[in-house]
Each structure stands twice: as C-alpha cells, then as structure tokens.
Symmetry: C2
Subunit: 507 residues, 2 copies
C-alpha cells in the first residue's frame, strides 16, 4: 500500500489498474453500506450513515480527479499494446474522469443540495398532488442539468449527454428508431386485449385470503435456487423497495417485499432481483474491481431481470414446474391449474402507475417519459405545462383519464433526483431480453422445452457466457450484437408480446 515505493517498481499499466481498483473498492464499500441502510440500519443511524456515505463519495472523487491519475490515463490511452480488457478499462475510466473533472466542486455541491431539497419537496408535492409545489425545484434541476450538459458536451442533441450517462453510447438517434415501432404496435394490441377481456375476464385472487410471509419466503427461495442463485454466495432479505446489490465476489445480495394478500408480488420481485443477482454472481472474478469486471449497463442489467421475471417466470411452462412448490407452500390456495396461475400473472390492464404495469403497457409508460424528457432538453418545453402534456398522452395512449398528479407526473422519484435520461434503460432491458431469448432459443433449442424440463441450467450457462462473463468488455449495444448476432431492435420484443398475449387472450 505504500505508493511512493510502488511507483518506482510498478509499470504505468499496473499503477493505473491499481488506482482504479482502489476507487472500485470504495464503491463496493458504498454498495455494502447502501444495502445495510435499506435493510437493517436502525432509524437513528441515518445521520451518521449519510455523513460516512458523503465522506466515501468525496474520497472516491478525490482519487478520480487526482491529476496524477489524469496523466496516467493519458499515457495508458496512447499505448498500442492494450488488450480488450485494458481498452475497456481505459474507455470506461476516461468517461468517469472527464465527467468528474468537467464539473466544478462548487457546481457538484450546489447540485447535490438542490437534489436533496427537490426530493423533500417532491415527497410533499406527491402526497398532496400539488405539482406547483414541485415546479420551482424541477425548474432548478432542469436548469442545473442544462449546465451539466454544456459542461459534458455532446455531438448530437443535448439530451444525448444525459442518455449516455445511463446507457453508455446511446443517443436519441439510437433510441428513436428502437422505440418507433413500439407505440405503433403496442397501442392497438392493448385495445384488442381490452376488447377480449369484455367477454373473457381475468381471474382474480380470492378476496381476503392470506398467503403467510414464511410460506412466500420458502416458495420464493425454491424458485431463486432453481434459477441458479447461490445462497452460499449471497442473501435474500426484505426491504420496502426490492433491489439487488452485487457487493463483491462471493457476496451478492437482493431483497424482496411481502404482501400477505398477494404472493405474486413477492414471487416476481424475487425472480426479477434474482435475474439481476445472477448477473452479478456471473461476472468474471479475474477482472474484480475494474470496469471490465462490472456489469455493463442499466439496460443490460434490466434485460437479465426481465428475462427471468417475464419471459421465463410468466409462462405456463414455468407454472407447470412451480405448481407443486406453490401447492406445498400454500395448501389452502384454490386448486388453480398452471394456465390459470399464468393468466393471473399476466393480466393486462391500462393503469396510471408505471411500476405496477404489465408487459404490454410498461414500455408505453417509459416511452411517455422519454418523449417528455426529449421535449424538455431538446425543445425547451415549458415545465409548467408538464401535467397537461402528461395527462393528454395518457388519455391518447391508454384511453384513461388521470385524476390527479400523484397518479400522473408526480409518481416517479427520478425527476426529483435529476435522473433525466434514466427511464429509457427500462425499455432497453425489455427489448434486449426478447432478443436474447430468441438467440438463446436458436442456440440451445426450444426455451419452452428448457423451462418445462425444470432444469434451467443451460439457459443460465448461455447467459453466463454471452453476457455475464463479458462484463463491460464492449459497449452495451455491441455486447447485445455479439450475443444475439443483431444490433438492438424492437422487433423481437414486439413478436414476443404479440404472440404471448395473442395466446393468453385468444386474440
């Protein structure tokens, strides 16, 4: 650890990687403390925890912007002997370094303060459905974000600088064609389903029936284990909002939530988070603590969770396998067959809330936010008209009327955190998942057959090799192309939903 001595004996490539590893170590500690904060921390620990988290953030920042690190990066970048991993590390760290050095510390702390004030204001505004209480904060955040965009710079449109933050390499030019077909085909599909439901209504859970938490836990652990999650190298706990945290090799943790009246809520949270967690457990340990060893992007991460949750978990084949476990854990549940269980798990219903949306409407929610953000940052859309815009789009796309802003433009936390550009990665996840499923199907044979067999290891192995082990070797879009043979597209997803819901609703 004595740097002055190391510097003399280490090559510049070694020193570069050593410094990167130290920065990543700090990140892992932040990840661990963040996990603890959401799951176990006593309430009065919040102040100290906030303080130590800020301290760690500053510690990492200091090491990132260290001028010696900048010089080292310059020198390593210019070398001609970099292998794939070294190129990935250089590419990813360059982005991080540039972003960290392009903003003044004065700007960073002003922005942090504005965000934390906006978060509080948003919580109040959402409770009271009072957009006007949030508006001035949103205006501040958008103005600061515009400053950030200018500092970062961009080639195409201003919004591109934000999109790139959450899905490296993606711009409006990439997203627009991807999303183009979605609305065009999803809206009519939704309308056909709504028609079909009139004569063929969805089954429902028996009212007031309790599914004990311990039984849900037992059932979900069985599913997670079958998916391949290694509980000797991870944990499942409870938290208000389910999440997963790949803290360090051998220790990947995810959470779920329990609703006594609805075992599906817990099950699909567990399948979703296990999907994320399997990605983390499958990363290449030999690249630990370097960008190359990290998951590549939010979009690809979401593809792993959605593939397990939806394409595997919400199928009659899954329910054929899980039925005995379900009956064992919930002996008092009605004797549903797998078709009925699957139908309950796949009810389509246009609603106001994104996080409760089914596979057909979910991406429409996301696209709506993408369109609005694009208008804000590329066309200067006036923020005071945001509720009207939101509500009119919901009516046009879903045929329902937003009763208040709590159920409308105030529902998501993202804007109060200035996380503009984040939403589209959710849809990317769904598109990538469908593409991966098709490619997997053609590589290892019928996925329905694999799911039915109850042995899901070959599917996991395929994901391990094509996605997990590759970490951040390539940019996300290139990784998807390498894995599936085709660049990102919405076609596979549209085929998938049209076929799936066509069958479920006998369209």
């Amino acid at each position: 650890m004595k740097k002055s001595c190391c510097r003399r004996t280490m090559s510049e490539k070694d020193e570069f990687i050593q410094r990167i590893k130290d920065i990543h170590r700090i990140g892992s500690i932040q990840g661990h403390l963040g996990w603890d904060q959401e799951t176990l921390m006593p309430e009065k620990g919040a102040k100290s925890r906030g303080e130590i988290m800020a301290w760690l953030a500053a510690l990492a920042h200091e090491r990132i912007i260290d001028p010696e690190m900048g010089e080292l990066l310059d020198r390593v970048e210019q070398r001609s002997d970099l292998d794939e991993a070294e190129q990935a590390n250089t590419r990813e760290f360059r982005k991080r370094y540039d972003k960290a050095t392009k903003l003044s510390s004065n700007f960073v702390s002003t922005f942090a303060k504005a965000r934390s004030e906006a978060l509080v204001a948003w919580q109040g505004a959402r409770s009271n459905s009072d957009f006007s209480a949030f508006l001035p904060h949103l205006e501040t955040l958008v103005a600061l974000t515009r400053e950030k965009i200018e500092a970062y710079g961009y080639e195409g449109t201003p919004y591109d600088a934000l999109l790139d933050e959450y899905e490296s390499g993606m711009t409006v030019e990439d997203y627009d064609p991807l999303f183009a077909g979605l609305k065009q085909r999803l809206v009519p599909l939704l309308h056909r389903i709504m028609e079909a439901k009139k004569t063929n209504p969805d089954p429902t859970l028996p009212e007031g029936m309790a599914f004990p938490v311990e039984s849900q836990e037992q059932f979900c652990i069985k599913v997670s284990e079958r998916m391949g999650f290694d509980f000797a190298a991870g944990r499942m706990d409870a938290s208000t909002h389910p999440f997963s945290a790949g803290i360090w090799p051998g220790d990947t943790r995810f959470t779920t939530r329990y609703d006594e009246l609805d075992p599906f809520s817990c099950l699909y949270a567990v399948m979703h988070e296990t999907g994320h967690a399997l990605y983390e457990q499958g990363l290449d340990e030999s690249h630990q603590y370097t960008p190359r060893g990290d998951a590549v992007s939010l979009g690809v991460h979401e593809s792993q969770s959605r593939l397990w949750e939806n394409q595997i978990g919400r199928t009659p084949e899954f329910w054929n396998v899980a039925m005995p476990w379900f009956k064992e854990s919930f002996p008092d549940a009605p004797s549903w067959d797998s078709k009925t269980l699957n139908r309950i798990a796949n009810c389509v219903e246009p609603g106001f809330i994104r996080v409760e949306a089914d596979e057909v409407t979910y991406n429409l929610h996301v696209m709506l936010r993408y369109e609005i953000e694009k208008k804000i940052f590329n066309e200067g859309f006036p923020l005071n008209q945001l509720p009207e815009l939101w509500n009119s789009m919901i009516t046009e796309w879903f045929g329902i009327t937003v009763p208040n802003d709590t159920l409308g433009c105030l529902q998501d936390i993202h804007w109060s955190m200035a996380a503009f550009g984040y939403f589209p990665t959710y849809t990317l996840g769904n598109l990538y998942a469908a593409q991966l499923l098709e490619a997997m199907d053609s590589d290892i044979g019928s996925i329905n057959g694999h799911i039915s067999s109850g042995d899901w290891s070959e599917m996991l192995e395929w994901l391990r090799n094509r996605i997990h082990k590759r970490g951040s070797a390539l940019l996300p879009a290139n990784l998807i192309e390498e894995a599936t043979g085709a660049p990102p597209s919405s076609e596979a997803f549209l085929r998938y939903v049209e076929e799936k819901y066509g069958a479920i609703y006998s369209l």
Copy 2:
C-alpha cells in the same frame, strides 16, 4: 475533502483532528464490515471480505504513519493551549503513531502471517488436544512478540509493554497488588461454597425442557430495553460468539446466541452485551471519530458489561422484576420463585473452561493466565512446559484435574492471535464494576432498591455521567478514580463476592 486547499486555511489543530477523524472513519467502516461478517455474510464472501479488510487496515496504517501526520503531532503536542479533549487526542494518537512507526512493514506482515498460520494450527491442536502441534507456532509468536516489545520499549518489565497495549497505562506494578488479594480470598471462598453445596445442592433446569428461541428473544429484548438500550439506535442479532459493536452514533449493534435448553445463556449474554452497547450509545457525540470520544479501554468496557450482567442481573431483586416477563415468555417453565431463579443463575462450580466460569472462579482463570504470561515474558519460562504448569495450577487452585489440553492450555483463542497481555483486562472489568457499584450506591442510594423498583434509569444516568460521556478523557485508572473517589483496587470486588455468595450458600 481537497487537502491541498484545506491545509492552507486550516489551523494545525484543525488539520490534526481532521486527519484523526478520517482514520477513525476507516475504523468505523472496519467495525461495520466486521459486524456483518460475524452475523450475515454468506460463507463464500469470506475471501473478498478478508481482502477488503486488509485493504482498509493498510489504508488506515498509511494515514497513521504519514510523515506529515508525525510532524503535525509533534507540533500539536508542544502547544500549551490544549484543552482536556485535545490532550486526550494527542496522548492517544501519540501511542498509536509510535506503535505504528516502530514496527517495520516487513515485521508487521511477517507477524500477520505467523498469526494466521498459528490460528489454523491452534484450531487443529485444540480439536486433537495436541499441544505439540501448536508449540512451534507459539514459540514463533512469542519470539516475534519479544521483538515487538523491544521495538516498543518499556520502563519496568518486558511484559508491561504488552499490558499497556490492552489497558493503557497499566503495568505489572499496577496489576500485582490488584490481583494479590484475589487468589488469597477467592480460593478459600470457593472451598467453603463446595462444602456448603454438599448439603445444599444447586437447583437445575428441568432436563430436556425446551425454551423456544422466539420466546427467549422476546424476553431478552424486554430486559435490554429496560436496561435502557435504544433499539431505534441499534440492533440485536444472533452470532456464534456474542459481541457488541459501537459502529457509529445512532447505530450500535450487539449479538447473542440461543440455546433452546438454557434460557440463562441467552439472557446473560444479552445483559452483558447490552452493558457494552449502553457504553457505546452513551459516548459523547460531540467527540465523534476522535480518541476522546471513544470508549477508554477493554477493562472499563468490561466493567460496564459485568456490572449489568452480574451485579444487576444476577440478583434476587432483578428476578423479582423480571419474573412476570419470564413467566409470560415461558408459560411452561416450573413455577420457580425469584430466589430459585437467582440461585440457578449463580451456581458456583470449579470447571476447566474460563468462559463458562461463575463469578468466584472466573478471575482465578484470568489470574492463572496472567501469571503464566508474566513468567513467559519476564522470566523466559520454557513453552514446552506450559501444559504441566497450567495443569498443576488448576489442581492447586480449583482442586480438579485437567484431563486434556483441549480443556486446559489450548482452550482460549488469545495466544494463537498473539494477544498476550489481554486477559487481565477481564478481571479489571470485574474489579472496576464492583468499585463503581459501591460508589453508585453511596451516590444515589441503595442499588438493591433501584433494581427492585424496576426503574433502572438513575443507575444508567450515573454511568452515563461518570463513565460513558467521559470517553477517553483520562487514562482508565484515573477515570475509575474520578468516578469512584478511589484508585482501582480489589477490595470492593472481594466484599461483593463474599457477601453475595455468603448469602446464596448460607456460609
């Protein structure tokens, strides 16, 4: 966090304290990760955890031995305007700095490696009761410890350098008189008790009766809350070996263990660890992350745990208060009265194992180890004769014959970690606790009365003011003198055990 800028504007006292706080922050993170490791960490997380712990240790070490820190310490030490807290911080950091800089990093890593090899060898040797397998490792550790003693330096005897590591300021010259009376009066007391037990045997737990873990947890939480532990600022969890960790303000955690056949094991672990945890919760937050704000020593820490566990918890008055909770949690238990419950909690029995010992024999176990360590480091006692020495002392003091080294000199982990000089702090804890109890009694009135009343807040308040809030303002012995009006002595403890067990066994 930008040091180059801070240095220009900060005073040397401020910079000194800023650097100390950063070192303490690293320590808090280590404490948190250590807690997690013992309670929740999945087994395959061990390798990464070990790596990150070593990295944090190196990070802290690097900051301690930083020559700029040494110069700053020199300058701050020479100032004449230091208040009590600043003096404490300077005094304590000087020790840490000297110890860290007096050992070469080569020595430190050789020692760390020898310790980890010795630990493995000790585990095997203890399982097989094979002292010879541990002997070469013990010889290495003692030889390296002698090197360490020479590097640290000492004024009186070599062993003093070790004692000071665990209880700042304590030497053989301090311990010898403290311990002198103990053996002389405890051995005869033990013999009188053994005589009395022949005609008046101890009651026992009903064989095979189960005390459900959930009920034990419920009962113990009630006791811990009544002691004053703030569960909104802490947690209780389970681990193999109970421990407490005052991680950061507002977040103090302790653990217990559950034995379905013995609710007393859990109860007294909880009272013991709550005693430690109350100390941590009572530290002065305004001195957070500085030595002044830390608990002062192992001995004083142990006084807090033992006072609650033994002087409060193992009394008929306690059992009068706790009886209804006990009956509520364990409705199937025999209808013991508080006298019987208290007698069960206070059985005296000479045994081989320190950690299972009662209040009469416990300190004899500790003194035995103190005498042996003193012989090793001050008289060059040959290590191959250690088992014979151990066994003959046990026979002489306890009147029992050690059947094998697993139950003898291989029982404790301490020597395999080279923690020579640690044991005496356990007895200090008992002596301090008895002294504190007497002083408390004369300050706030009959402690038995306080315990009986079921309102223990005044006792806690007294400890808060006399011990907890004072942190490391003074050296441990001076703190005890400030709190009790008298320097550390064994008299109060001897009065306490003789009176207590005289009553219990009608001597």
